[in-house]
């Protein structure tokens, strides 16, 4: 195991985040504050409590997931796409590192950044609502698994993308709609029956539902199913990345 390689890739990526601290950390915090002001306070004050949970508190897990998913994708995809774009990737490809070490370095850093942002958002949210986390360890487990699995997905996008447009297209056109329709701001029980069924095909529903259950024991689907779906998604991402490195897809000609 090339521990030194993992260390330097991780450090390099983390340093990049701290160099652009406003973009990396302040921006998601400001967005979250705005969501709380608009949805939590302005609109939320007119919405009834859901399963005895005030609307402001109800949207906290969804908001954390919304930011974690988008940040994980953005950080991991950019982290690997940029060296491909500039040609710096030659150094990683010619180094004595396995794909597991490369992925650990890049994805580990992207997931760490998302995790830190999630903690900052939770801290920010506690200024607006009285925070309640019934199952803190499960909450952390969900959070970490989501950070890792979506960073892996972002890494795949970063390897697949052949230009900056493609780098943005999946997060914008696929992930953002899925997140907004995945129960971030509502429970799917609020939807008509047909849309409830359609929502079950949205993987984000399982993430938000399981994560929300760890806060208030309120969920759309069972927590076991949520956890299984996250693990399945993580496994699929790992298999795809393994295949990409084995075949040299978009990396080696």
């Amino acid at each position: 195991m090339n521990i030194h390689a993992i260390r330097v890739i991780y450090k390099y990526e983390m340093k990049r985040a701290f160099k652009t601290i406003a973009q990396s950390f302040a921006s998601p915090v400001i967005s979250t504050v705005l969501y709380f002001v608009v949805f939590g306070t302005a609109i939320g004050s007119r919405i009834d409590a859901i399963d005895n949970v005030s609307y402001g508190l109800f949207i906290v897990p969804g908001l954390v997931m919304l930011t974690v998913l988008s940040q994980s994708l953005a950080n991991a995809s950019f982290g690997i796409y940029f060296p491909r774009f500039t040609g710096q990737i030659y150094e990683v490809l010619s180094a004595p590192v396995s794909f597991v070490e490369i992925v650990t370095g890049y994805v580990g850093a992207a997931a760490t950044k998302s995790f830190l942002i999630a903690l900052i958002i939770l801290a920010t949210a506690s200024f607006f609502v009285e925070m309640r986390i019934d199952h803190p360890f499960l909450m952390l487990a969900f959070l970490i698994l989501t950070c890792i699995s979506f960073s892996l997905f972002g890494f795949i996008i970063g390897l697949w993308a052949s230009d900056f447009e493609k780098l943005q297209i999946i997060p914008l056109l696929v992930i953002t709609p899925l997140v907004f329709l995945g129960g971030t701001f509502y429970t799917i029980e609020m939807l008509p029956p047909v849309w409830q069924t359609i929502s079950l095909f949205n993987p984000v529903v399982y993430l938000v539902s399981g994560f929300r259950w760890s806060f208030f024991e309120v969920s759309d689907v069972s927590v076991g199913l949520s956890l299984s779906m996250v693990l399945l998604f993580l496994l699929i991402c790992l298999l795809i990345i393994g295949w990409m490195f084995k075949t040299g897809y978009r990396l080696k000609q």
Partner: protein
């Protein structure tokens, strides 16, 4: 000398069907400087990229220090340093950070003393805290060399290292190459500056259209393929070749007052004696004469031309 890189029947065909390498076999000796010459698109960079692990081969095998580049990639890659052709560097990191990154990436523990000496050898020590984007092109080229040396490799590939580099920096680079050779590093370089290959390489390989046309000791190559020319300057111009000189395959200069006689210096009879007699017999007065040997560049051009003709 024993072989440190052994390439056997290596071929590479890219997805679009372009065959960049055709059955290349080559042994690179430990501690030597091998210059790979070839026109653009000849396959030099593909060959280097395969050895370094950046491009997958289509066929054939490569071993480095006795280890296969695919099965034992960790062992082979930690022995190799690569200076790429393009200035592929991050813009926003410092010189020191990028050196530390390269060393760690190749599995080496941090060693600030070694990196400090390396920076000093490359005249980069004063720039260690500078962001790469603020460096000149020549400085960036030095940074690339330093990054390739940060993990103390035993083999260094330099892919067109002096392209677009000014004369002073070029001299510095070759001085660094000489230091590395003395330290026992095997160096493989590709260059368009053939006079540099002639000056510093031990062996020269000529590659064209994916084929390795020749690899030989530089002096042996020049000995085998090199020709000499006798330049004869006449007292007065001649309009056409006198009949008495027709059998000598002489070339007349544009002014008509210079004749060029090409001969093989290794032959027992070079024909010079007969030529001089024939010149006197033809009534021509010699003002001056001197001989020149074929440069490596001419040998290279002739080989590539001959290969192009045979391929056509």
């Amino acid at each position: 000398m024993s072989s440190i890189v052994s390439i056997s029947n290596l071929s590479k065909t890219y997805e679009g069907g372009f065959q960049a390498l055709k059955n290349v076999s080559l042994d690179i000796q430990r501690g030597e400087i091998l210059a790979l010459l070839g026109p653009n698109g000849a396959g030099k960079t593909t060959l280097i990229s395969i050895i370094c692990g950046i491009v997958n081969p289509s066929q054939g095998t490569v071993s480095v220090d006795g280890c296969d580049i695919i099965k034992d990639y960790r062992l082979t890659r930690e022995r190799i340093g690569l200076v790429p052709q393009e200035l592929t560097l991050g813009a926003f990191e410092s010189v020191w950070d990028t050196f530390c990154f390269s060393r760690g990436l190749f599995g080496k523990k941090p060693n600030p003393q070694y990196l400090e000496q390396l920076l000093k050898d490359l005249s980069l020590w004063e720039k260690r805290n500078e962001m790469i984007m603020n460096l000149s092109g020549g400085m960036k080229r030095r940074v690339l060399i330093g990054k390739a040396l940060a993990h103390e490799p035993m083999i260094l590939f330099l892919d067109e290292p002096t392209a677009g580099v000014d004369v002073e920096l070029r001299k510095d680079m070759w001085a660094q190459v000489e230091r590395l050779r003395k330290a026992g590093v095997t160096i493989i370089l590709t260059t368009h500056y053939i006079e540099e290959a002639e000056a510093i390489a031990d062996r020269v390989g000529v590659i064209n259209q994916g084929e390795l046309l020749v690899v030989d000791d530089k002096l042996a190559l020049m000995h085998k393929l090199g020709k000499r020319q006798l330049m004869i300057e006449l007292e007065s111009s001649i309009g056409s070749m006198p009949e008495a000189l027709a059998g000598f395959k002489l070339e007349i200069g544009t002014e008509g007052d210079q004749l060029t006689y090409t001969y093989d210096p290794h032959k027992a009879n070079t024909g010079i004696d007969e030529l001089l007699k024939a010149l006197t017999g033809a009534g021509l007065v010699i003002k001056d004469l001197h001989s020149v040997k074929t440069s490596l560049e001419e040998i290279f051009v002739n080989l590539v031309k001959a290969n192009g003709r045979s391929a056509a």
